[in-house]
Symmetry: C2
Subunit: 162 residues, 2 copies
DNA sequence: GCTGAAACAAGTAGTGT
DNA sequence: ACACTACTTGTTTCAGC
């Protein structure tokens, strides 16, 4: 299948910058006992390959007032409305993620709202008004037990899991 | 309610570093026509307040082999098994997020697997084996239409939405 | 609470092996 | 593909407003 290939250096660099995007390259170089500029070159290539996209600061949603997190499954009146519903959902800034899914729902979204009342208003006054939406089911998150990034352990191996 | 207070500078800094965690502080200062060191001070305070947690590089899961993304709702045999089930789920590295939720399911998780076959194996051989799990429903993501961070427009205002 | 300059550290590019 | 050096740029701290 020969897709991307990652060696030990790539993997270690990813492990380090992923958790701290502002970690000095020179420090990474020191840890790995390689030159400063090699780190720079590798990261450049990882970007070119599309393995790393961007570095972002993680803002705590709760700290800026978004206390209610909820997943919401959306049922459509008919399947062919999918695209126009997605276009409508995109206009609602509280919706942070939107997926086409298999199973009970056609579309599955993630919403952050100020509180439950706010969530209800978004659903009733905005989502339900989009032409093609038949109904929604909400899965309000009482608590997020954990949240982490994808494992890098399988890199470079290539991968038998059965 | 007097929770956190954010002025224009805080908001602008957040907007800029959120999308590019490695943007030089000096450049931010220039954009806002404030001193280099004020940017530094403000970011330090935002960290202390817990508004920003860390800077992370975003790794493209598909590029490192995780082609199947799925949300999975978990039903419990009895509600009181919740905690021990979460402990079991935490041991499965392909599970990237785990929430207690309202509605049909007790627990709602996000899984990234190599492919559908791998996903099935994780569910059957790991998740379903955890004591307390009655069953699961999967919502496999065919496509992610969009994905973004929470809006910062409500900062500093304080907020009436009804 | 903010600025500005000075000391320090890191990022970048070019050259050679 | 990598390391070394020289150069440019950013970060951090602190005195002073």
């Amino acid at each position: 299948m020969s897709m991307n290939h990652f060696d030990y250096i790539d993997q270690q660099i990813l492990l380090q910058i992923r958790e701290d995007a502002r970690k000095p390259f020179s420090q990474i170089a020191e840890n790995l006992k390689i030159s400063n500029s090699l780190v720079h070159q590798r990261i450049k290539k990882l970007k070119q390959r599309g393995v790393i996209k961007k570095a972002e600061f993680v803002v705590d949603e709760k700290q800026i007032g978004f206390k209610t997190k909820s997943y919401v499954g959306i049922r459509l009146r008919e399947a062919r409305y999918a695209k126009q519903v997605v276009d409508g959902l995109k206009e609602i800034p509280e919706i942070l993620e939107c997926n086409y899914v298999s199973g009970h729902y056609a579309i599955f979204i993630l919403i952050f709202a100020f509180d439950n009342h706010h969530l209800r208003k978004i659903l009733y006054e905005q989502v339900h008004q989009i032409d093609g939406v038949a109904g929604t089911d909400s899965f309000i998150c009482f608590d997020t037990n954990f949240r982490r990034q994808v494992s890098l352990n399988s890199l470079g191996k290539n991968i038998s899991y059965d």
